[in-house]
Symmetry: C2
Subunit: 323 residues, 2 copies
């Protein structure tokens, strides 16, 4: 992986992905005790940065291969990104999803034109189903993060951050990134390495599901003990990726971890002061910036709000938090 791959992805995404705004509010600056800039990837197509990686991967395929279609395993933001990017390319998308996935997510993915293939988590093998479908139809599997063209697509967010932060007068800052498998974090880190010498990527995760933070601290890949039971489930993955971890290890500062309540409070504060909708997993970076000031140095911090796909019931919980 090098910067030329991200730059090539940026050219393919031009005119298709949104250049999301870099927002700010004096009220957030005051809470954080330093200047806060927020990259609003919740405003990306399909409501999360995942559209970037999906578009990058699909647009990079050989046209004959691409025409047969793509397949992904996901019940979340990756599924929607793939579905929308595939539809815009005029190719079929198959999303293999647990049969107990929320109806809204199934409907949302189908609404973007994808075929949803449900499987029973207890009795069926997801990978076997995917391999069979891929073999029968010639579909290409697009992995959610540990895939070079996906990392390159997410890295385009980092290119935008460098440019937009400079426009705002910020060239030196920690760039805190909501981190699951590390696709967005490693992509942004590569972009900062090339163009933002005094910008440093740092992963943010939910407490208790901070596999990347621990992996970085301990110098090798560590797993999460559990994979569910946190409101930030969307960014909980078993462990950092084989491709993403070495990039993060080389380039990233220490990880940060926040509580569920802190993520919910950050969601309320984005509602109040930025007028954007953050999902819990998309709010952990801002939560770290606001509520972990002693773990950050410097006059400015940049955070991703990486997605906004949250159920109304969960958002209502954030609204009900103490201000």
């Amino acid at each position: 992986m090098d910067i030329s791959r991200i730059e090539a992805a940026a050219r393919r995404l031009d005119g298709h992905a949104r250049r999301t705004p870099l927002l700010s509010s004096p009220f957030l600056d005051e809470i954080a005790g330093r200047r806060v800039l927020v990259k609003a990837e919740c405003l990306q197509h399909t409501g999360s940065f995942k559209f970037r990686g999906a578009w990058s991967a699909i647009s990079a395929l050989d046209p004959d291969v691409r025409a047969k279609g793509v397949i992904a395993f996901s019940s979340g933001n990756h599924a929607q990104g793939i579905a929308a990017a595939a539809r815009a390319h005029g190719i079929p998308a198959v999303i293999v999803m647990p049969s107990d996935a929320p109806a809204a997510k199934v409907a949302g993915t189908r609404g973007l034109g994808a075929e949803v293939v449900p499987y029973d988590r207890a009795t069926e093998d997801r990978d076997a189903i995917g391999a069979r479908l891929a073999g029968e139809r010639g579909l290409t599997l697009i992995k959610p993060f540990d895939e070079p063209e996906v990392i390159a697509g997410q890295g385009t967010c980092g290119l935008e951050i460098v440019g937009q932060a400079a426009e705002a007068g910020v060239t030196e800052a920690d760039v805190i990134v909501c981190c699951g498998g590390g696709g967005l974090t490693s992509g942004i880190a590569l972009a900062l390495e090339a163009y933002g010498p005094d910008l440093r990527a740092r992963p943010a995760e939910p407490q208790g599901f901070d596999d990347v933070r621990r992996s970085l601290a301990e110098g090798g890949i560590r797993r999460n003990a559990a994979l569910s039971g946190n409101i930030c489930d969307a960014i909980v993955t078993p462990q950092p990726g084989d491709l993403t971890f070495p990039i993060m290890q080389r380039l990233c500062g220490p990880g940060l971890a926040v509580s569920e309540d802190e993520a919910l409070r950050a969601m309320q504060l984005t509602f109040r002061h930025l007028k954007i909708v953050a999902e819990p997993g998309g709010a952990v970076a801002l939560a770290a910036a606001l509520f972990r000031p002693n773990e950050i140095t410097g006059d400015a911090v940049i955070c991703t709000v990486s997605g906004g796909n949250v159920d109304p019931e969960v958002f209502a919980r954030a609204l009900a938090m103490p201000a």
Copy 2:
């Protein structure tokens, strides 16, 4: 008022106001039965388009006059726009506000550096207080809509709409604008007249508070029977302005009016599909686009979401509406 005044305002706003994004979602297109583009002015500084007019008016003042400061009557979005624009110019701002205004609005305005002067609605004369303060301190009154430089500032939103819609391939559409006194509507209408010959501005209001719709239909200024009791209070004004009405009469298509429930549902749909926060009065244009399809012609419609300053309790009501 002519377009050169809007263009001059645009030059003064450049680098200070945000160029807010024009958003869309295939799910909204499906509900509306046509393509829907949403100008997200809730992402403007201070959470509403009012910052544009405030900046325009303050930046247009003679420097010696400006240095003495500005004064405004408002407990809402205009107050915050004036406060933020005055602070950025390094000048004092005095906001005269009813003493029973919500504490959050008082704190928000003070948080932006303005001096809040409360008055008792029952026993004190707001205009007399304002005149006294203005006389004593040499403050300039910035009216909320019936003021040429304010209209010019709001018109910059229309310039952006023309350009962004063309980028999205839309040059022919109704442009539905959330309408109180008509500053935003008339400003946008002037911009469309100059640069979007096949774009037509149309005001949207709450049912029962549709003074502009009735004024346009009946060919003269009509008043609202009441001034409170609607969830969209922020855009309820007594009647169209003396400056704004003739512009709207010359340039605008028929007005549209929506119910409180429709505004709340539109708020939920912007939450679900665009990941932005709309206040009730900021959602009426989108509500009209989604729920009044028979009053609109053409393949595309453009709506402003003009503000996002809504209390968590009210937003929770929108989230609880049937999907």
